[in-house]
């Protein structure tokens, strides 16, 4: 004897086999997209933190004029500028390290006429007139150049925005597809079982009595498929992270997702299932309203 409230043989429908597949694939793709977007955000945040609050001043070496003097002049200008939190000379040894790989092992780096670099950290929310600062620096230390990384940062930000936009589009597309699939499954269920639904109605069943069965079915099927899809996606990400070392040095910092990001990813199947439940409820009630 079936439990009361399971009069509709939904579990035997084609949709019982269809929904988990769709949900699984959707959650799989959504998880990958979400992971990609979160990763891009993390990378961007790291770069931004590293670069956004900083300037670099370059004081070229010039035969004839002593470098230390000009360095001091530039540092003095920077220190009296409102909004500058710190200004520090990059030690010559670090510069040599940076340049060495480009010159070949045999080069006598020590003899190179390298420019001096001053790293400047800005106070938070500082609003500097960079052009004016640049002029003052050049006046104080002829040849000094100000680099605010703006171009580089803009490029990075644009790439990250593009990744995020694509990921968001994918997630949105998936949500729409999911709603369409659930709506379709429900409408199909109603069509297949139209007679049963009508009889239940005429016998005195409330809309909620019928809607509950469809919503529960959609929820269970979506959750089931979603968990499988999530597992597949996480395995894939893990495998990629594993294989990442084998790819050799890549221009990406080593990155881990935060706990919050993992929680977000883990919640995808549940979110999909709840979404399916709501979509089912809405569809059923809308369809039932049309019956007398």
């Amino acid at each position: 004897m079936p439990r009361s409230g399971r009069d509709l043989p939904l579990a035997g429908d084609a949709s019982a086999r269809f929904l988990p597949w769709v949900a699984g694939a959707m959650v799989f793709l959504a998880t990958l997209a979400l992971a990609g977007a979160l990763l891009a955000q993390t990378v961007a945040a790291r770069w931004h933190r590293d670069l956004a609050g900083s300037l670099t001043v370059e004081v070229p070496s010039r035969p004839g004029i002593a470098a230390p003097e000009r360095e001091r002049a530039a540092l003095a200008v920077l220190k009296e500028t409102a909004g500058v939190a710190a200004a520090e000379l990059v030690p010559r040894s670090r510069l040599e390290q940076l340049v060495a790989p480009w010159l070949g092992a045999g080069a006598h780096v020590a003899e190179l006429p390298l420019p001096s670099l001053i790293e400047v950290r800005l106070a938070e929310n500082a609003s500097l007139d960079l052009a004016a600062l640049g002029h003052r620096l050049t006046a104080a230390a002829p040849g000094a150049k100000l680099d605010d990384h703006a171009l580089w940062l803009a490029g990075v930000a644009a790439v990250v925005r593009a990744v995020e936009a694509v990921a968001l589009a994918v997630v949105a597309l998936i949500a729409v597809l999911c709603a369409v699939a659930v709506g379709f499954a429900v409408r199909t269920g109603l069509a297949i079982h139209r007679d049963v639904v009508e009889v239940l109605h005429l016998i005195g069943a409330r809309d909620s009595y019928i809607a509950r069965q469809f919503a529960g079915h959609a929820f269970r099927m979506t959750l089931k498929g979603g968990i499988i899809g999530l597992a597949a996606a996480v395995s894939l990400v893990a495998a990629l992270a594993e294989g990442r070392g084998a790819l050799g040095p890549l221009p990406l910092p080593e990155i881990r997702l935060s706990v919050a990001a993992w929680a977000m990813i883990g919640a995808v199947p549940l979110a999909a299932a709840v979404f399916a439940l709501l979509a089912a409820l809405a569809t059923v009630h809308r369809q039932l309203k049309r019956m007398p």
Binding site: M1, P2, S4, G5, D7, P9, G12, D195, V196, E198, V199, L200, H201, L202, I203, G204, A205, R206, Y209, K289, P292
Partner: protein, 231 residues
């Protein structure tokens, strides 16, 4: 119990199927609904179980104007009406027992009260051996009897049966008529649409005769004749 006043009905934009129907059915009455095929018998029953709304006129059911019954109130009202559909409308994946139990379950009855009650009724209509069979695995006449059992299980105040003996032989038809009369004696108002002239001839109840969209009342015969008919 039932009061029609100048009621017309049609489907969509089609022609009027019924027009200007005015009649009353007293609580506890028993009527045959007759008329040629396509006269509107099923349509009239549909008006009574609220699957169709009249185009004009007023229908009162259980002392209430059906035009003012909200969607929320419908389920409760429908539980007081038992219907035998002309095409049975059984639920194919539920056993005979579960089909008949449905009106009780939908109304929230306790499982313990359901089973024995249902099994007893099914035995009465001759289906004791088919309690757990699915409708598609039963014969036409067996299905019809399940449909009847489902309509009467809830002791409805109003019983509407559309051609309830079309698929059974005369012996079973008599048995079913006896069931309807028993219910009627316990207070149920009964309306039975039928083409079976023999049945109408054998039972003394008044007729509602539909023809050309209009209703004609044919009074019942005196009680004496009935006893003879049942013999």
């Amino acid at each position: 119990m039932v009061r029609f006043e100048d009621v017309s009905a049609r489907y969509g934009r089609g022609p009027d199927v019924l027009s200007g129907l005015t009649f009353e059915l007293a609580a506890g009455s028993f009527h045959f609904l007759t008329g040629p095929s396509g006269a509107g018998k099923s349509t009239l029953l549909r008006l009574l179980y609220l699957a169709l709304r009249p185009v004009t006129g007023t229908i009162e059911l259980f002392e209430r104007d059906v035009a003012h019954i909200s969607r929320q109130e419908l389920p409760a009202l429908r539980r007081r009406i038992g219907v035998v559909f002309q095409d049975f409308r059984l639920i194919g994946h539920l056993s005979a027992l579960d089909n008949v139990a449905l009106p009780l379950r939908v109304a929230g009855a306790k499982e313990v009260q359901i089973r024995d009650h249902v099994a007893e009724l099914l035995a009465w209509v001759g289906l004791a051996d088919h309690l757990n069979d699915l409708p598609p695995t039963l014969s036409g006449g067996q299905q019809q009897r399940i449909a009847i059992a489902r309509a009467v299980i809830g002791r409805p105040s109003l019983l509407l049966a559309d051609e309830p003996t079309g698929n059974v032989d005369d012996r079973i038809a008599m048995r079913l008529m006896y069931l309807f009369e028993e219910l009627n004696k316990m207070g149920t108002t009964v309306v039975i649409a039928t083409h079976n002239d023999g049945l109408v001839a054998r039972f003394p109840h008044p007729q509602l005769h539909l023809e050309g969209g209009h209703l004609f009342r044919v009074p019942g015969r005196p009680r004496a004749q009935k006893a003879r008919a049942r013999a």
